[in-house]
């Protein structure tokens, strides 16, 4: 038996295994704040967080407004790349939208700042009862929550004509009533709205023709429109009897005006 030859092989294998195991041990020690490097344990720390930002947010009709908060995170062991900030928007006690998670901040040492964008949807109700609750966390610990409040979501106005923005009543004669033509309106902002519906007098393409009385055009009014409500408005045109409008094409404009309730 060639002991010398085997012992050399065993020695080579042992050295190779040791070399493989060494980086794993180092990674395990460095990657964990609670682990050990050279036999010394680092303490597990709890980060702290504060935040600043604007106390008012303006609504983007039919869109999203972003309120930007600057969160300052402090961690005694250093704000490592693994630290992150979680933020949740509330209206009173009601959480709105998904939590916002920011995983990268700027800064060195024990303090870093994180830029946190909080989305406000157009259909969140206007008011001053909004707040954002933020926490910072490292792999072991999460900070005490920090509440940024109050935030006032400022009321806006907005209406869109989703369908039926051009209507045709067909061909009508004196005494005729048209079929109902429908327009669909949408409250596109963060508050309820009243609608004022008014029509200009019909005008004709026939020179010298008398206009058809505007009062012949009638509609319902779905006011007040609630936030995000889509509502139909039915228009009916009736040509009064006893008038003799010139034959021709008549046209008008109908204004749907939204105002605060």
């Amino acid at each position: 038996m060639n002991i010398k030859r085997y012992s050399a092989t065993i020695a080579v294998v042992a050295i190779a295994l040791a070399m493989l195991a060494m980086p794993v041990a180092v990674v395990a020690a460095v990657g964990s704040p609670g682990g050990s490097v050279n036999g010394q344990f680092t303490a597990v720390t709890t980060p702290t967080i504060t935040a600043t930002g604007s106390a008012s947010v303006y609504c983007t009709p039919n869109g999203v407004s972003t309120s930007t908060l600057t969160a300052t995170v402090t961690d005694a062991n250093g704000v490592a790349a693994s630290d992150q900030v979680n933020a949740q928007l509330y209206n009173g006690a009601t959480a709105l939208g998904a939590p916002v998670v920011v995983t990268s901040g700027t800064g060195t040492g024990n303090t870093a700042t994180f830029t946190v964008g909080i989305p406000f949807q157009y259909n969140y109700p206007a008011g001053a009862g909004y707040s954002v609750v933020l926490t910072a966390s490292n792999p072991q610990k999460t900070s005490a929550p920090y509440t940024f409040s109050p935030i006032n979501y400022v009321a806006a106005l907005g209406v869109s004509i989703d369908s039926g923005s051009s209507l045709n009543f067909g061909t009508l004669g004196p005494g005729d009533t048209s079929a109902t033509q429908t327009t669909t309106v949408h409250d596109t902002v963060n508050q309820a709205e009243n609608l004022g519906i008014s029509a200009a007098p019909w005008t004709s393409n026939v020179t010298g023709a008398a206009s058809v009385p505007a009062s012949s055009l009638t509609s319902n009014n779905p006011s007040p429109l609630s936030i995000d409500q889509h509502a139909p408005i039915g228009f009916v045109e009736t040509i009064p009897t006893g008038i003799s409008p010139y034959a021709g094409t008549y046209s008008t404009t109908i204004t749907v005006m939204a105002s605060a309730p």
Binding site: A155, S163, S166, F169, I254, A258
Partner: protein, 185 residues
């Protein structure tokens, strides 16, 4: 193998053509009309408290909430003679907004109190035809209060500090020389 006569082929094509024509008519009827939408933020423009003879400005934004149609708008002031807007008309591309500046100039005879009016934002039909065109509009509230008289701006005169110091030094030197001469006598 099935063989069809010309008559049979014609009989088959006829309903097919009718089906195609019907589909075309349905598409034409259900094609969406141009949507149009307008928004304003905030819904109340508060110019604050102004003294007689004073002025104030505040901005608000008009939004085109439609994703395809440009919005032509006008802004008119109702019920508040001291208020003006800039610009009072323009065009806004889809899904964008523009800033309107509201200004109030309170004249010297205005009485103390709260004032309000409306900023009427009208849209115009852009590229839409029909017997009746529907136009979205908004009534934005504008308000301000008048209290007292605006402070008169103080006119300030800048006195050049170097010539002033030089003049003082000169006076002191002259006085010292004068006193010195008198003592020598």
């Amino acid at each position: 193998m099935i063989k069809l006569s010309k008559r049979e082929i014609g009989g088959l094509l006829k309903p097919l053509l009718l089906l195609l024509l019907t589909a075309a008519v349905v598409l034409a009827v259900t094609a969406p009309a141009n949507a149009v939408g307008v928004g304003a933020s905030p819904s109340v423009v508060n110019l604050g408290t102004i003294g007689r003879g004073g002025s104030a400005t505040q901005d608000f934004r008009i939004y085109n909430t439609d994703n395809s149609t440009p919005l032509n708008y006008t802004v008119a002031v109702r019920g508040a003679n001291a208020v003006s807007v800039t610009p009072s008309s323009g065009a806004i591309n889809p899904l964008t907004n523009t800033t309107i500046t509201v200004q109030v100039n309170v004249n010297n005879s205005a009485k103390d109190g709260n004032y309000s009016g409306l900023l009427v934002v009208n849209s115009t039909a852009s590229g839409r035809t029909g017997q009746a065109v529907i136009l979205p509009a908004l009534a934005v509230t504008v308000k301000y209060a008048v209290n007292g008289t605006a402070p008169i701006p103080q006119s300030t005169t800048n006195i050049p500090i170097v010539p002033l110091v030089g003049a003082v030094v000169l006076v002191v030197v002259i006085a010292a020389v004068y006193i010195g001469i008198r003592r020598l006598r």
